[in-house]
Amino acid sequence: MKRFGILLAFIISCGKGLNYTQNFPFGKGYVLVDQDGNKVKLDEFKGKVLVVGYIYTHCPDVCPLITENMKKIYKKLEDKGLANKVVFLSITFDPRRDKPEVLKEYAKIYGIDRYKNWYLLTSDQKTIDSLMKDLSILVEIGPMEFTETGDTTYFIVHTDRIHIVDRKGKIVAYFKGSELKIDDAIKEIRRVL
């Protein structure tokens, strides 16, 4: 039994998506704001195949890997002429700092601003907290840090995740966002396209 538990924990932590049937939180009235400041109902994305990543823009090390991996997925889909059939969402769990204009700058410096079907989404703290809970993305704000000049900053402990959502709103695969194999993600996407 113990060995089974360890094996199960191993399978879960590897996150391939098999037998993983969590639903994307559609139908709950979530309203977000995109990088252009437009209000977007999460439900508007229902019926589309989604690649969803969870980030905060002040994360300099791991979140950029998640964004870079999503970009690689995008490019590979683009090569196959499939990019316009998929919608990409980068949802922040740091709405306090990640205002639409910050997300827009982030899109620009990461070169994803030219992708029309890539939305960078934020909202108010309450909405984001609830959304992340529904998605099992663990988020914990770290302690305030100070610089010599008295400026403050903080970092966030978070789950490292990319989800693939099918047209019915089911999360059909989840990956460790910073470490996934691009071809594995492409395979999952093609399966539900």
């Binding site: 090390d61 950029p64 410096i109 070169g111 770290g142 610089t147 010599e148 789950t159 910073s178």
Partner: protein
């Protein structure tokens, strides 16, 4: 690739992530120690941001990504120390300017034995 040859080091593969003004970035590199003695890197500075910290990203038991501040790192004799994405990095806190691809800036590293070493960092 820019390389720096100091007394007994080679510092290669130096690069930084893009960053937003007021936000953060990270710098990566490989420090090769050609000496038969270890050296300790204990501090870094740059004009580009308010503060530079040595950090390590790691995954905790609940599968969450965390970062911790590291007081120093030891570069082993006849060995190397790698700062790379998802692991050790120099954290640039509160950037004073935008860091866009292709931009360069200076950074100083402080070693116990070799003293202050100035390097050139390119944004990629």
């Amino acid at each position: 690739m820019i390389g720096f040859l100091i007394a007994s080091f080679d510092i290669v593969g130096i690069w930084a992530r893009p960053g937003i003004k007021g936000g953060n970035s990270a710098v990566y590199m490989i420090i090769k120690n050609n000496d038969t003695l270890p050296d300790t890197l204990y501090k870094a500075e740059s004009e580009i941001c308010k503060k530079v910290e040595i950090h390590k990203s790691y995954e905790d038991k609940r599968g969450r990504i965390r970062m911790k501040k590291v007081g120093f790192v030891v570069i082993p004799p006849k060995g190397e120390f790698r700062f790379e994405p998802g692991s050790y990095h120099f954290m640039l806190i509160k950037l004073k300017r935008y860091l866009r691809g292709g931009k360069r800036f200076k950074m100083s590293l402080y070693f116990k034995r070799n003293g202050k070493v100035d390097i050139d960092v390119e944004v990629k």
